[in-house]
Symmetry: C2
Subunit: 357 residues, 2 copies
Amino acid sequence: MKELKPKLLMTPGPTIVPERILKALSMPIIHHRTPEFTEILRDAAGRLKPIFKTDNDAFILYSSGTGAMEAAIANTINPGDKVVSIVSGKFSERLRDIAIAYGANVESVEFNWGSEIDVEKIKEKITEDTKAVTIVQNETSTGVRNPVWKIGEITKETDTLLITDVISSIAGDNIQTDKWGVDLCIGGSQKCFALPPGLAFITVSEKAWNAIEKNENRKFYFDLMKYKKKFPQTPFTSSISLLYALEESLDMIEEEGLENRIKRHVDNAEFCRTEVKKLGLELFPEKEEIASVTLTAIKHEKSEEIRTKLKENYDILVAGGQSHVKGKIFRIGHMGFVGRSELEKTISALEEVLGDL
Amino acid sequence: MKELKPKLLMTPGPTIVPERILKALSMPIIHHRTPEFTEILRDAAGRLKPIFKTDNDAFILYSSGTGAMEAAIANTINPGDKVVSIVSGKFSERLRDIAIAYGANVESVEFNWGSEIDVEKIKEKITEDTKAVTIVQNETSTGVRNPVWKIGEITKETDTLLITDVISSIAGDNIQTDKWGVDLCIGGSQKCFALPPGLAFITVSEKAWNAIEKNENRKFYFDLMKYKKKFPQTPFTSSISLLYALEESLDMIEEEGLENRIKRHVDNAEFCRTEVKKLGLELFPEKEEIASVTLTAIKHEKSEEIRTKLKENYDILVAGGQSHVKGKIFRIGHMGFVGRSELEKTISALEEVLGDL
């Protein structure tokens, strides 16, 4: 295929993929049904667990993150089951919509995009017959980070499952699956792992397995019982090249150290917020305390013009707003291997663009 | 990750991935929601159509081939719908099992593995209320090629949909989606496209769209209406690196010419059969006329010993038998970019191994 001229990817996924990972991608294919590949699968799944801070089972799925969202719902929710969905952005809407597609009786607890969730309001809706609560820990569409542990406190000692999307924060933010009481924790590859898209991750608690075993409606490709039964092999063909890349990403995470990596994300996020505020810009999250550590969402009525100028004059790609905030916000990703120098370059270009407006 | 020592992949998928494709995989990531990437998506989907010999819509899904099998069923079959499944191997069993998982009332028409299907027997089962017939054109588990067109003759002028798996033959065998009357035609990446696993393809006829639009039960990740609505963009994140590889594979297919490529597969298959017969071996398909052109399945009571010796002494990987023919057959893949020289090397090693037994 023809040469590509990539921009500097400052979007909240896909993010910059380092050379080492790109190189791993192009390693020759070995057969997936061999002891050699089984070892890779076992190793990768095992190394995901400390990143999720969990002792639960961890699986790699061959799909985008949405596939793992579907897996969480398809495996646990029967038609008519009551699901409480906490909705405050595009991806929490998606999780709710998947529950609806699987016939759940969904109670949607909605909050304005960018605002803090009201735990008391959510608590009121969770009753003994609530099968699951869905929440997005890091809303990529708004740059808001939600306090999952506060929901875990409600569901932990009950039969209610806590389904949490950490797609755009896992391996960047301090995700504490077990401590928070998350039963099904959903991750993706093209965010803080700095991988190409195409892999998704899911961790499954004992409480979740109990629900899954009772569910006769798990469908097929995302049927987690099949993955459990075949582990460390997989029920269907593995995306071999992407697994090589995952192994390389895990090596890099371990070399840096997870806690160092989390601190780097926290520091870079703070740097980004400080710098954009210095430029006179306003953050989209209503309070700085709820701002994501992997991306920064910024209000601006000329967001699309800013994005175009950054792209065309500086070869820098930032993301725009989605749905009803399209044109009203723009989003800078600082995840994976995006470093201070890329952030400085972006802020400096942004300053010039704002001067031109 | 650590260096791999790949064997010569003579398995019926994954198959040898040429250097050019491996190189394309490691191109830098561009964002999938850009005009540049949209152009790649449009181009790839457009170039798939002549390979399927179809004017129907063609979509790329981000999953293994099984995901596209599930898409075909999930989008068309409502609980209670009558489905006739032609079953004569592991993958036709899978297609049937997916229909069962979606609540279909499945009439399974079974034939011994390796035998020719009896079209009259199938025809008897297809009635006016049959929603779909499922068939695998190229049974990877048996090395048998099924005459899909004979089923198409039965379903073409009716409301019954013809769902066909060509995962291990598309881009190698002469697949004639429209001429045969296939409504949902399912392909995969790690077979004759010589790509890594992780992409699946599906073509959708007008007749299929009519059924899909009426289906309220399409679920989510594989909901083809979402793919149609978003085309040439995708509803969820594209596997960007694998798309680069697909573009490269399509370039290579076009450079060779599809008809030349099909002829090469036919010739290589004939060569392989002739050579193994010369070695005194018996083919697994009951008649040579029904043998696959992308793999050769061979009977041998010491299949596993043969495979081990080929692997350990010659660094050549061939596949074994699956399910009840495990240990009774072995399978040589000659798909994608496997050439005469790799086949000759394999046959020569096989001759030596047989001499040792």
